[in-house]
């Protein structure tokens, strides 16, 4: 097993390298002058020459690629041309926001999608089944950003002054300042060290940080802010998971071993959950993995509507502002995430279905 896991991870390395090179090339192909974009009216010829030298843009492209690859392996992603801070710092701030949002969306999608699919399959052609499938069809056809705006309208305006009111944007209410866990615990860390960077990264997970430091007010505020964007982001994966669970369950429920289990007098709930669901999970897990990748794309839209400063929003701003290093770093992170998730899905097959021989 461990051999398989190692091999699977090794297999991902060339893909990641390929993605790094492609991203580097794409970032260079994007037309427009980064100097002009960053310095605006101050972009004189002399200023641009200094700018190119500072960011290494005056060197031959292959040299730039070599330097870039070397830097990435040492954790140096360069400096954001626009924000004028290291890209790694930007990643530390932004990545947890998107990871938290994406995880929340995926949890909603799985917790509702899988049971909905199972119930639909078991009560086939019932009103519950018809309603679920109509919901699923509408869900995949809905523009995420439209749903987001409509949710914001309903919960922030129509339900104002009711207990169901939810904030339409932002990650925390202005004035609510979470204390990073390392400060709450009285740890004295030196800024710039690896440990500080890691702790800083972890503390940017607002929910997690609030839980481990018992800041319940902050936690409540963060959850309230997370509900609408997470629900909006979850609709497409939720619909797809519900559909695939239903069809996979229908397939399995017709099999002979299920009939045999029923004939033996096994409790119906046990037949469904133990005999059928476990065998129906394989395609469901694949789809969950695939959908996790597309969540990043959805994050661009959701984050821009709900005023979340996450990876999606940052990447969009970077592309339109030609912020090379940010584009490269963020795309690499997203692509690595994608490759990693695929590997996890592959490995999880073996746990779900022991019949799959690991070669």
């Amino acid at each position: 097993m461990s051999q398989y896991i190692i091999r699977r991870i090794l297999l991902a390395i060339p893909v990641v390298l390929g993605i790094m090179v492609v991203t580097f090339i794409i970032a260079r192909v994007i037309p427009g002058d980064p100097c002009r974009s960053a310095l605006a009216e101050h972009a004189t010829e002399a200023a641009c020459a200094a700018f190119a030298e500072r960011f290494g843009l005056d060197k031959p492209i292959l040299v730039q690629l070599g330097i870039y690859m070397g830097d990435v392996f040492t954790g140096d992603f360069g400096n954001s041309i626009r924000f004028r801070i290291p890209v790694s710092q930007l990643l530390i701030e932004r990545l947890p926001v998107t990871l938290e949002l994406g995880t929340a969306a995926m949890i909603i999608a799985v917790l509702i999608g899988v049971p909905a699919g199972v119930i639909s399959a078991v009560r086939r052609n019932s009103s519950v089944d018809v309603a679920t499938m109509i919901g699923a069809n509408v869900g995949v056809s809905m523009p995420v950003y439209w749903l987001g705006l409509m949710l914001a309208f309903v919960f922030a305006i129509l339900l104002k002054d009711t207990p169901f009111w939810l904030p339409p944007s932002g990650r925390l209410t202005a004035g609510v300042l979470p204390t990073p866990f390392y400060q709450a615990w009285g740890l004295h860390l030196v800024s710039g060290t690896l440990l500080y960077t890691i702790f800083d990264f972890i503390s940017n997970f607002a929910l997690f940080n609030a839980i481990i430091t018992f800041q319940w007010k902050v936690l409540g505020d963060a959850i309230v802010h997370l509900i609408l964007p997470a629900v909006a982001l979850s609709t497409i994966p939720l619909s797809i998971i519900a559909r695939i669970t239903r069809s996979s369950m229908l397939d399995v429920l017709g099999r002979e071993y299920v009939r045999a289990a029923r004939a033996k007098g096994v409790l119906e709930s046990k037949v469904i959950l133990k005999h059928a669901l476990r065998n129906a999970l394989l395609p469901v897990v694949t789809v969950i993995g695939l959908q996790t990748g597309t969540l990043f794309a959805g994050a661009v839209l959701t984050e821009s509507i709900f005023g979340f400063s996450g990876v999606g929003r940052a990447l969009f701003d970077a592309i339109t502002g030609r912020d090379y290093y940010v584009i490269q770093a963020f795309t690499i992170v997203i692509a690595i995430g994608y490759v990693f998730i695929n590997a996890v899905v592959d490995i999880s097959y073996a746990f779900i279905d022991p019949r799959i021989k690991l070669r």
């Binding site: 893909v15 390929g18 993605i19 492609v22 794409i26 192909v29 994007i30 037309p31 499938m133 069809n137 509408v138 995949v140 056809s141 809905m142 523009p143 995420v144 950003y145 439209w146 749903l147 705006l149 409509m150 914001a152 309208f153 922030a156 305006i157 339409p168 229908l250 017709g254 990748g293 597309t294 990043f296 794309a297 959805g298 661009v300 839209l301 821009s304 509507i305 990447l315 969009f316 592309i319 339109t320 030609r322 795309t331 997203i334 692509a335 994608y338 490759v339």
Partner: protein, 316 residues
């Protein structure tokens, strides 16, 4: 030789019969499915709306009503039947931020959405099918190189890749169309390649080859038509996602530009007014959803209709 020809003739004949009956069977199955019928009706309505847009739309989609008496920007819907004063001009979906009739813009938007769906996927199917067919037919290193390149394209989330491509090409509807077409090419290339790989070893292909048919004839006349059913299903479903993606790009300001009455652009322009003029966000979103839904329902229906196994289980 005569026997050989005879065999091929009869083979061709059975094939023709088979393909005909497959089409007939598919159609029959399709009309048995509630979802597919709903999808077809919706799509038919949309096509009719697109064709008769100038007749159906009460106003020109670009013209504005600035200066008309009592007109304000982002005016709420005014329907005479529902008590809107008759002295006011009727705008059943209100006016947008530029004093234009929202309903007329929505109707003309149908044309653009359908155009986007069919052109992008049309290009993707033609290019993808060609790449996939050649790749699968040639096999060996050429196949390997082509398919690895397709894998790299697929490794990026398609929406992000489309944003990338537009940044290179520049904003605008045509470039957005091209970007969406490009990200869809690998899907069709893979699909056709898989079909070609399995079909090229079949006997009717070997027989045609033995008769001295050229590679091109073998590939495009013998093999490719057999890959058509799966291609049609995937294309229908892809049109749905292409329309959704194009609208999202326009929403971000990267696709269709003002004053084009494109639904995503209309939504994007008024997104900040959702609290004061929700109708300007609500209606374009519903329009996008219905269009996408119609293709999704039809695509699912086609897939089920072409799969005899599924057809049987659904009856069971």
């Amino acid at each position: 030789m005569t026997t050989g020809t005879g065999v091929i003739r009869s083979d061709t004949a059975t094939q023709v019969v088979r393909s005909r009956s497959l089409a007939a069977l598919t159609l029959r199955n399709l009309f048995r499915q509630r979802n597919a019928i709903i999808g077809m009706i919706l799509l038919l309505l949309l096509v009719l709306i697109a064709i008769f847009a100038p007749v159906l739309a009460p106003f020109d989609p670009i013209i504005n009503f600035i200066g008309e008496e009592g007109v304000v920007d982002r005016q709420a819907p005014c329907i005479h039947l529902l008590g809107c004063p008759v002295t006011q001009t009727e705008h059943i979906m209100g006016l947008d931020g530029n004093f234009r009739d929202e309903f007329s813009r929505l109707i003309y938007g149908t044309r653009i959405s359908l155009y986007i769906g069919f052109t992008t996927i049309g290009i993707a199917v033609i290019v993808g099918a060609f790449i996939g067919a050649v790749s699968g037919y040639l096999g060996g290193w050429a196949d390997n190189i082509i398919m690895r390149f397709m894998d790299v394209i697929l490794a990026f989330p398609s929406f992000l890749l489309a944003i990338f491509i537009i940044t290179i090409l520049g904003r605008g509807l045509q470039n957005a169309l091209l970007a969406i077409a490009v990200v869809n090419v690998p899907v069709f290339a893979r699909l056709v390649r898989a079909s070609v790989l399995s079909l090229k070893e079949q006997e009717f292909v070997s027989a045609t080859r033995a008769l001295g048919a050229s590679h091109l004839r073998l590939l495009f006349v013998r093999i490719l038509p057999n890959a058509l059913p799966t291609l049609i299903v995937q294309a229908t479903l892809s049109i749905a996602s292409a329309i959704l993606e194009a609208a999202a790009l326009s929403f971000l300001g990267l696709g269709a530009q003002e004053p084009t009455p494109e639904w995503g652009t209309m939504l994007g322009r008024e997104r900040n007014q959702v609290f004061t003029a929700p109708h300007l966000v609500f209606f374009p979103g519903i329009a996008i959803m219905i269009t996408v839904l119609s293709f999704n329902l039809l695509g699912d229906g086609l897939r089920d209709a072409m799969d005899p196994r599924l057809g049987q289980t659904s009856k069971a």
